[in-house]
Amino acid sequence: MDFSLSEAALQRRELIHAVAENMMRPISREFDDNEHSDAWDFFNTMWEFTSASPSDAQMTGDPGSKKKGPSERTLIAAIQIEELSWGDAGLYLSIPNPGLGGAAVNAAGTPEQKKRFLGDFHSGKPRWAAMAITEPHFGSDSKQVATTAVRDGDEWVLNGTKIFCTSGKRALEDSEGFVVVWATLDASKGRPAIKSFIVPAGTPGVTVDKLEHKMGIRASDTAVITLEDARIPADNLLGSADISDKGHEGFKGVMATFDATRPIVAASALGIAQAAVDFVTDALVEAGIEIRYEAGTREMTVLEKDVIDMQSQLQAARLLTWRACNMIDRGERNSREASMCKSKAGLAVTLITQKAVELLGPLGYSRKNLLEKWMRDAKINDIFEGTQQINLMIVARSILGYSSKELN
């Protein structure tokens, strides 16, 4: 049992912290104020950075890749993402990379598909890939996918509307990227009929209809995408077209990627929370206030207690997150632990940033400082990649040994 970071991890953390501090923080307010504008300078720099050093691509939250690596690969990814999110969670989500779409191709694609879509992804101009699951009528309940895919000769014809597609516009309109779209071959067949399709930028019939105005992470584009008779090549289907129970396994495989992505979302939450804690800590130093951890209730101030609680919640969430990452790195199943850390981190970052805004009064509420922005950015971590409730459900099923039929 060891709670120290390796040299490699410490170095990565330092490097990425510098990126966050020098490249993200200075433009953070600008791209929050100007929602739907693009931080091209930042994108280009990050693109060069990651293209030059393929291993740096990890920092962009691509835990699905199967590259050989040290047994702390996922942990280091989490630490990097924490640092990037400490810089700016919205900008972090906007970094050009294969993202969740790439993770899906990696997890379920054939060697040919991986080569075709990811092989030279990092060459040329910045590119994004995205994942489109959610539709207007459902959120967590992904078996309700109503977007259809119909085979027509050598092509699939897709029709439907997708919402909450992170980086959807950048993948489809701003770059030669792609979006992995969940669609059903037969809505009456439920989960086994739901398949993933790679829809490249430039596919006729695919349009970005709207970019959401959001409470936070405004630098990240959240697109509404419509597919109207959008035709893609037959071999853009990920996995098989089989809708038997065996085909269902493919769906389970896609769901299992959440075990890898949830700790990454949790790590992002940690970064925002750490930013808030650091901001408060700086304010304390400026005010000459030292935290007396071992004081009694008669002496300790509410301020001290609140800060200690923030630190406690943050560290609890961090250790749960690192544990889930450590399990991936050791090849262990971590569904329970992944949902535990996501649940805890999503809640912790919400409460920590709220408390920080409250503690710092007008400084916290004012847009002169970034604290209020972090509070707005924080909340999405309690929602996406499985809401708090969905993750508690998964934890509950796991500790109770229940199936999704037994507990829902």
Partner: protein, 360 residues
């Protein structure tokens, strides 16, 4: 004798204000938040309802209604349920009127209140909050020092609503005999009003930082003696507004949850969501009752220190929890601005901070 019911007049006021809030404020909230402006027509409509200026004595040209903090909470809650920024804007005259009606002498009432008896909406303003943190709201750094016939005021204030538009600002400052509430006329030398603030919420409300640099006001413009209870009135008004924002979020979340299907039922039929909504409902009611008790304590002239403190912090915590859960119930949809819950969450975050946002 214990009675939790509004009297007929209060009930009538509530119904009127609630209808106005529902029909006029709520639909205007999103756009006002985006544009940063309260439509002048709305302020005028509220003015014509007499919500802000009803207590101005008849001698000063007003309706001379008995001041009642309880009635004030009813109005503040109902308006805030429509939209917080607009509510604060249209109620801003009370920031001047309430202190002057309650503590002002005849001369002060005559001079100041005459500005608020016209047919046009006239904003008011209170400079209470200071740009510091962690200190008591009653431990003001802004000072008012008597120098001959004047008070000389020095200090910085922030989140001063409508500072640039009001004919009067009530400035709260530490004097040698307690907290002074001083009526400062617009344009008084030494009163510097900064550019408009940008905040997490309250975007439609024009708030400013102001600097007072050797700002001299006649000693005769100090309202009464110690003004601590005026600050407590502001706190009670804010607790009522917090309840209004919480109630808005609760009801919106209930409606959404009853219409949103997932996993084969409406999400409101899931215990996790249903119990969350039940807890929100309990906290909204608890916060309202504590606020009303504090208002009653102020109305009956008792020492309200404890009741007001409790009402304020309880409501601030409650609205934070309730509006956060409001977003959570809507999930991703709660995070996008098509629904108002994120606006209410941003507005709701401020109640632990606000001082001098409204009065009862």
């Amino acid at each position: 004798m214990i009675d939790f019911h509004l009297d007929e007049e209060q009930q009538l006021i509530r119904d009127t204000v609630a209808a106005f809030a529902r029909e006029r404020l709520r639909p205007a909230g999103h756009e006002a938040d985006d544009s940063g402006e309260v439509p002048p027509a709305l302020a005028q409509e509220a003015w014509e309802l007499g919500l802000a200026q009803a207590t101005i004595p008849e001698a000063c040209g007003g309706f001379g209604q008995e001041p009642s903090a309880i009635t004030g909470t009813v109005i503040a809650e109902a308006l805030a349920e429509g939209d917080l920024s607009i509510a604060a804007h249209v109620l801003s005259p009370r920031l001047v009127i309430d202190p002057v009606v309650l503590l002002g002498n005849e001369q002060q009432q005559a001079e100041i209140l005459s500005d608020y008896t016209g047919e046009e909406f006239t904003p008011g303003s209170a400079a209470l909050l200071e740009p510091s943190w962690g200190n008591s709201a009653f431990d003001l750094k802004t000072t008012a020092v008597l120098d001959g016939d004047d008070y000389v005021i020095n200090g910085d204030k922030c989140q001063v609503a409508l500072a640039a538009a009001s004919p009067w600002i009530i400035v709260y400052a530490a004097a040698d005999n307690g907290i002074a509430a001083l009526a400062v006329r617009a344009g008084t030398p030494g009163l510097d009003i900064s550019e408009r603030e940008k905040n997490l919420g309250l975007n439609a409300l024009d708030t400013r930082e102001i600097q007072l640099k050797d700002c001299r006001v006649p000693a005769s413009m100090r309202l009464g003696g110690d003004a601590s209870d005026l600050i407590r009135r502001c706190r009670v008004a804010q607790s009522a507004m917090a309840v209004g924002v919480g109630k808005a979020s609760l009801e919106y979340a209930c409606d959404y949850a009853k219409e949103r299907e997932a996993f084969g039922t409406m999400i409101a039929q899931k215990q996790a969501i249903a119990f969350m909504l039940a807890e929100m409902a309990i906290e909204v009611d608890a916060a309202r009752l504590l606020g009303q008790e504090a208002a009653w304590k102020l109305d009956t002239g008792g020492d309200a220190v404890r009741e007001v403190s409790i009402a304020k912090s309880y409501a601030a915590d409650a609205v934070m929890m309730v509006t956060d859960n409001g977003v959570q119930v809507l999930g991703g949809h709660g995070f996008v601005r098509d629904h108002p819950v994120e606006l209410w969450a941003r507005n709701g975050r401020g109640f632990a901070i606000f001082e001098g946002l409204a009065s009862v």
